[in-house]
Symmetry: C2
Subunit: 153 residues, 2 copies
Amino acid sequence: MKRFAKLSFAKLTGGVAAMAMVAAFVLPTAAQADDQDVIDYRQHIMKTMDEQTAAVGKIMSYAIPDDNFASHLEAIALAAQTSLSSFKEEVQGGESLPAVWENWADFEERMNKFSDGITAAAKLAREEGKDAALNAAFAALSCKQCHDDYRKK
Amino acid sequence: MKRFAKLSFAKLTGGVAAMAMVAAFVLPTAAQADDQDVIDYRQHIMKTMDEQTAAVGKIMSYAIPDDNFASHLEAIALAAQTSLSSFKEEVQGGESLPAVWENWADFEERMNKFSDGITAAAKLAREEGKDAALNAAFAALSCKQCHDDYRKK
């Protein structure tokens, strides 16, 4: 059943990522595949924030018109809201440092602060426009502070 | 001014993508940098959809709990809503085939259909839950059909 669902989804979407998902499935043991699923899942969420933050950067640097500014912040906010839950299960590996789970209370607090901050910035951008939201967006997207402590160099 | 904004943003966020953005800025001519910005921007949006579709795939294959199902569909919907505009300027390159602009009416129609479909699926997932939205999500996420015609192999 599990296998059927995975293969069907890959066939339908035809995405590169979906293919990687199937590749992960055929790892030798079920336990490994499950841990890899957890790592892959949180990385999909983090990479989403990377890509959308880069899109915001293109707008902030005046390289691209700002029509989609609020949408990009909303997409980051959605990803941010899902991100903490993707770390709740302690699975070492990927780019996460052990500090994530050793200092869980701090990690959780900072992730929640980030999620709340970018959600507020997105709301401001949607309701009052880019200029009103710029400072809040800049402040929320201080990714480096947490990455320094919780992500492998 | 343009340069200042780019550097400041990269410094603040510290993201890999933001660094790549600065690298793009120092290309020899302004024209090349602008085209590269357009290509980068549409790729950030497409990669967002890739990552979030992969996250949905993890849930659909029962590898990951379904708590975030609606949020992932909403993030794909937001990216889909912004995607068409990122192709409006005809800039060849990246993974796009010339067919995007040669067959613009068809490309536009299919992108709008995708955007409408995933937006409806996301709404269904948020309001009525995963099971109610599964078929609509599967139908919307048929990425392969357009990629076959409009993306380089």
